[in-house]
């Protein structure tokens, strides 16, 4: 037996427990994920329904999302677009957008019915640092400034305190990474990809209906 082969077997002999545990723990986690996923999805849906009321006003309801297949940053994704409905009429959309802040970040980007105007955003899931990055879900002035921005054009981040015009939004000093890369970056990445796909899906649905 060659020295190289001996070394390999020796490593395998030492690591057998780690390998078996990795398989066993991996299988256990897959089982837990499978068992809890439907319930977590439902929790997220319920949470989004509450946030749509917050953005679009009392009396807003939602329904099953329209799922659009898009490519964001060279990665193919399926994005859930929840309709905001009031008095039986669709008045806007809540787009569940996945991006990256300090860690994975999920935003609800709200737009009008034609996806022309941003109505606001809400944080659905985040792992941002409490007291620092999590200001993106607590700082009212920062959150409110997104309402009325042009959904067809990119948002332009400017430092906090600077005058803003058009599609400019100020970012939070001390949470620049989360507010600029996390929130502004996610909106700028996801909206241009989702907008045409969602408009096409609506057109198709109108033709069918």
């Amino acid at each position: 037996m060659s020295e190289k082969k001996k070394g390999f077997l020796s490593y395998l002999g030492q690591a057998w427990l780690v390998l078996i545990l990795a398989i066993a723990f991996g299988a256990a986690l897959a089982g837990v994920e499978k068992a809890t996923r439907p319930r977590i999805r439902q929790n997220i849906k319920d949470f989004i329904a509450v946030k749509l009321v917050e953005v679009f006003g009392t009396g807003t309801t939602t329904a099953e999302p329209t799922v659009v297949a898009v490519e964001v940053k060279a990665r193919k994704r399926k994005v859930n677009c929840y309709p905001a409905i009031r008095d039986g009429k669709r008045i806007g959309w809540g787009i569940e957008a996945e991006g990256t802040g300090y860690d994975t970040l999920t935003l609800l980007i709200c737009t009008d019915e034609d996806v022309n105007v941003v109505k606001g955003y809400r944080v659905v899931i985040d792992q941002e640092t409490p007291g620092i990055g999590d200001k993106i879900k607590k700082r009212k002035g920062f959150i409110d400034q997104f309402a009325g921005k042009d959904a067809a054009a990119a948002l332009v981040p400017v430092p906090e305190g600077a005058e803003t015009a058009g599609n400019q939004v100020w970012t939070i000093t001390g949470a620049t990474y989360s507010s600029e890369k996390g929130v502004v970056g996610t909106i700028n990445d996801v909206l241009p990809a989702v907008r045409p796909a969602l408009l096409a899906a609506m057109k198709e649905a109108n033709q069918d209906g």
Partner: protein
Amino acid sequence: MAEMTLPGAATRFRYGILDDNPIYRQLLGMCPTLAVTASLAGAFTMAAATTFVLIMASTVVCLLRHQLKGHLRILVFTMAIATFVTIVDRFLAAYVFSMSRQLGPYIPLIIVNCIIICRCEVCASHQPIHVAISDAAGQGVGFLLGLTSIAAVRELLATGGFFLNEANPAAGVRVIPGWPNWTVMAGPAGAFITLGVLMGVVNLISKRKKS
């Protein structure tokens, strides 16, 4: 032979709560201690999650203790801890979604909580299973007492009561009517002040008890 000289199950359990309290005596788990004690509910959930991981990881490590190789043991500890932390994280997101959102990254951060890896190294990898479980349970109860004592003081001084909810005024218990909310107690400064004062009180009591 070595096992006979080590503390037994009852002693391990008692040590975890009092003499070796993870927060007031060992000063371990300071990250969640300072971060999640702004509310009693958050502190209780964190302690329950940590206790579950402590007991499960100690059990697995104890069952494997004769197979553990010295240089691979930390890897095995970490794998076991990470698995149970992920399970807790998923269950909280599924069944206590609002608390999962409130605790945010602090649940995944249990993986790096020194209390757990410390108990795996000190007790679970050396002693029989009943001792390992007693030790983990004792440390869990000690952690629970530490977190809830700090959270109780902070929440009371920050809001004038317990479990109060601005959105639902009927919820919770107001202990001090008309209390001018000390918002500093809900922030990081309040956590450091409360921890320091309570640690001083515990030291004082221990000193008097000894003398």
